[in-house]
Amino acid sequence: MPAVLAEKSQRTVLRQRRLWGLVAASVLLGVAILLSLALGARHIALAEVWAALFSPIDGNNDHLVVRELRMPRTIVGVVAGAALALAGTIMQGITRNPLADPGLLGVNAGASLFVVLAISLLGITSPSGYIWFAFVGAAAATCLVYGIGAAGREGATPLKLALAGTAITAAITSIITVILITDTDTLGAYRFWSVGSLASRDLGTVTTLLPFLAMGVLLAAAGGRMLNLLSLGDDVAQGLGQNLSVARIVAGVAVVVLCGSATALAGPLVFVGLVVPHIVRPLTGPDYRWILAFSAIAGPILLLAADVVGRMVVRPAELEAGLVVALVGAPIMIALVRRVKRADL
């Protein structure tokens, strides 16, 4: 009897920790959003930010900056951060691979190739014109890398996925480079997209991609139970009534639409999807429903933080969020690699 009681109280503790954690994370997200609205080349007091949001005055420059520049990039940061974090969590769950990340899997290379072709062949040069090319390229590369990485007997191991991503990236990079070294105009337009940034994105893009984002989030929300079953191993999951191919298809579609939308919005970003699930896991425990919920909040926090840091370190110039995330994410990935046991790689 006491053992049962102890287990029960342990469960209550875990539940409370998760609930409070969720509250704390939401507060943190609120802070990140406010900072993203207030900080930058031009510092704007929080009271002014508040006024700009709820009682804007025409002709007030601070209000204009908040509404026209910082609000769009903050919204893009929240949406792209959540999408990438959810996609990373799903990938790690479905492949039981602690190092899965959209950026590591050649998604960015696929999107980049299509964007380069759009610029070079069709003369499109605005980020909002890139979105469908980025989306389709990202989706195609995800399917290709995952298909190759999952071939062979032991399935999608971390090493195989990472290297399939590396190989696809290398081949595509060669093709992109041919175009870039022969076409200066394309290079001039492409290089700014290629680093991944939240700046000067327009909100129309978010609206356009909303159906895909909604679909991805819904699939992710519904997928938590499925990922929990899969984490017990394919055989056990099947024994408990989970259809494996249905699970893989649902997860695959969710990853493709989430990664595609995020890349279309912000350009190529690495490491958000890789790092966020690992950061939230100590709080949530192994239950994927909670990991997904926390990731959806922590992803935006990470991306907004990276964006704000990028605005602050080289003021009045900016460091793109994609660069900051990569510079911070690589050490975290290496720390993870050092922690993972040989057998899991």
Binding site: L99, G103, L104, I148, G149, A151, G152, R153, E154, T157, P158, L159, K160, A162, L163, A164, T166, A167, I168, A170, A171, T173, S174, I175, T177, V178, L180, I181, T182, T184, L187, G188, R191, F192, S194, V195, G196, V270, F271, L319, E320, G322, L323, A326, L327, G329, A330, P331, M333, I334, V337, R338, R342, L345
Partner: protein, 344 residues
């Protein structure tokens, strides 16, 4: 198997190796001949032979000895250097994927070179120096970060892949800040090609390579013992970690020298040794045939990049090695079913 049986099997393997080596030499010579003869101004074979032995006409002399021969010699040298370096990495880390171009060592050279071109405004020999140091620095960082009471091939590769992404971000930063024409120039360097070869750089490369390769040859007996496994090697009196570290340093030196002078040339280090081993139809080190395969690959890539592309398009050789090498890596990943000893 009786003693004479072992003996005859070994002899057969040696004979096969001899034939393969000869075959590869012929291939390299043929590719070199083609590279020297073919171009906007194509020489006949007798003219080419006469020029090479010093009886050529003035214009032939200039085109062959000044323009085309440096390219060919440099191609052979760096191809061999990349291939031997890749073979050493793959053998030492017991993982066919642990080659310097996959784990970010070439990336380190690229960032350093781009930095020197775009930020410091340097060119020529200074870029070479920066690239060399960049490769060394990133190799040391990978080794230190992947060390956890020993070096494990998987950890080495994944740490390298992580660093490669970080390096990519730094490149992205440099690329968006520089002048677009200079960025294009840096891109050409980052792909790698034989275009900038001249006799003075060849001398440097040749001397450095000679020193490194002699040391590799001296240590290769110990490397064969290492291949039997760490415990066996230690039992036979080889100091395992010291030998491995020394050979890794030599391998890094080889790839750093090559990269510094011609750029990364994607996948040459990665594919040469596996191709050589497959040709020899035996395990073992196959350093000589690896080197010849590497040389042949670089010459072939350079020839194709100059003469075989549609629409008179000429690109650096590294683009072709990248496009051709990646499918090989993917094929290896898709078909390897052994998760243990051989990696993947």
């Amino acid at each position: 198997m009786t003693f004479t049986g072992v003996h005859s099997v070994r002899q057969a393997a040696r004979r096969r190796q001899g034939i393969i080596t000869l075959f590869l030499l012929v291939v390299v010579a043929a590719l070199a001949g083609a590279a020297l003869a073919v171009g906007d101004y194509t020489l006949s074979l007798p003219d080419l032979a006469a020029t090479l032995v010093g009886h050529g006409e003035g214009s032939d002399n200039f085109i062959v000895l000044r323009l085309r021969l440096p390219r060919v010699v440099m191609g052979i040298l760096v191809g061999a250097a990349f291939a031997v370096s890749g073979a050493l990495f793959q053998t030492l880390l017991r993982n066919p994927l642990a080659s310097p171009d996959i784990i970010g060592i070439s990336g380190g050279a690229s960032v350093a070179a781009a930095f020197s071109i775009l930020i410091l405004g340097l060119g020529g020999a200074a870029v070479t120096g920066f690239a060399f140091s960049g490769a060394l620095v990133i190799a040391v960082v990978i080794y230190v970060l992947a060390w956890r009471g020993g070096v494990n091939g998987y950890r080495f590769v994944l740490v390298g892949v992580g660093l490669a992404f970080m390096v990519q971000a730094m490149l992205g930063y440099l690329m968006t800040r520089g002048d677009v024409r200079e960025v294009q120039q840096a891109l050409v360097w980052i792909v790698g090609g034989l275009g900038g070869s001249n006799w003075s750089s060849i001398a440097t490369v040749a001397i450095t390579l000679a020193v490194l390769l002699v040391m590799v040859t001296i240590l290769s007996a110990r490397l064969r013992v290492l291949q039997l496994g760490d415990e066996v090697a230690a039992g036979l009196g080889v100091s395992v970690e010291a030998t491995r570290l020394t050979l890794l340093v030599l391998a890094v030196g080889l790839v750093a020298v090559g990269t510094a002078f011609v750029g990364p040339l994607a996948f040459v280090a990665f594919v040469s040794a596996p191709i050589a081993r497959r040709l020899n139809a035996a395990g073992g080190l196959a350093l000589v045939s690896s080197a010849l395969v590497g040389a042949a690959l670089v010459l072939a890539a350079d020839f194709a990049a100059q003469h075989l592309l549609p629409g008179e398009l000429q690109v650096p050789a590294g683009i072709l090695t990248g496009i051709v090498g990646a499918p090989y890596l993917l094929w290896l990943l898709a078909t390897t079913t052994n998760g243990g000893g051989r990696g993947a």
